[in-house]
């Protein structure tokens, strides 16, 4: 039952974040790149003011997997390393926490570009 609630929270919160993006796409005709940038920046600022922590606590991966969670990791990393290293933490803290995703995307991107061909778009 405990598991069920957690999965439900992840599903609902993750889904709702995507719905916000979908409404923005349909209503304002924003391109997906703009949406993604907006979401990451929102994630950073929501984490900075302390709101996103509640969401992560509540929904766990429902809040971490959407791109706002990317901003959450960036901001968390910066804050933690400022606590630890002081001034230089502002610049060294953000990227290590998101490096996994970025590095793997690059590696898989390279592999995919070599072994796979895109279906011709019509």
């Amino acid at each position: 039952m405990d598991y069920f609630v957690q999965y439900l929270c992840a599903f609902v919160v993750g889904g709702l974040i995507c719905v916000i993006a979908q409404v923005l796409i349909d209503k304002t005709k924003m391109t997906s790149a703009r949406i993604l940038v907006l979401f990451v920046v929102c994630g950073v600022f929501l984490t900075a003011v302390g709101l996103y922590d509640y969401l992560v606590e509540f929904a766990d991966y429902g809040a971490r997997i959407p791109l706002t969670g990317f901003g959450y990791s960036l901001c968390k990393g910066v804050f933690n390393s400022i606590d630890e290293y002081g001034f230089r933490g502002i610049f060294t803290g953000g990227l290590p926490d998101v490096a996994t995703g970025v590095v793997m995307a690059v590696v898989f991107g390279l592999i995919a570009s070599i072994v796979s061909k895109p279906k011709s778009k019509k």
């Binding site: 940038v37 706002t68 960036l74 910066v78 390279l110 570009s113």
Partner: protein, 158 residues
């Protein structure tokens, strides 16, 4: 001539269908985005629970929370990349809309998809340069805003 006629009618049709079903389309898109976005997050949740489950722990040992988080992101990026490489992710995208863009799998897709597409323009200026078409801005503004809030946090702290 007939080609022209086809295009016209398609355009007209779209105009008519847009004006008639604009509202219900948004509702339908939102439901789809909700289902797929939620599903992707649930898969990630399931994978992280799998990493913490007993049989897996017996094989690879107990992982701390940060490693589980990183491995889950890794898995989702892998999933997004694989589905993109198999040309499946675009099909999901036409149905799921934002539900496939916003999760980290969509980030993977935004890197892998141009990498594949620009392969024909060479490895350096094609794949290498175009890979971050969409992910680049995300990283630039994500990093910049994290430095900004970091600076504020640092100044408030001292």
């Amino acid at each position: 001539m007939s080609d022209n006629l086809d295009k016209l009618t398609v355009k007209q049709y779209q105009k008519i269908s847009d004006s008639n079903s604009g509202k219900s389309n948004i509702v339908k898109n939102c439901i789809m985005a909700f289902i797929f976005g939620g599903l992707i997050c649930t898969i990630a949740q399931g994978y992280s629970d799998l990493l913490a489950s007993k049989p897996v722990v017996r094989v690879i040992g107990i992982l701390d929370e940060k490693s589980i988080g990183a491995l889950t992101v890794l898995f989702m990026v892998f999933l997004g990349s694989l589905l993109t490489a198999l040309n499946v992710y675009d099909c999901i995208g036409t149905v799921a809309g934002a539900g496939s863009i916003v999760p980290i799998t969509g980030f993977a897709n935004s890197v892998v998809s141009p990498a594949m597409e620009y392969r024909s323009e060479g490895l350096i200026l094609g794949v290498g340069a175009q890979m971050f078409q969409v992910a680049g801005p995300v990283l630039v503004y994500g990093t910049a805003s994290s430095v900004l809030v970091g600076l504020i946090y640092y100044l408030v702290k001292i």
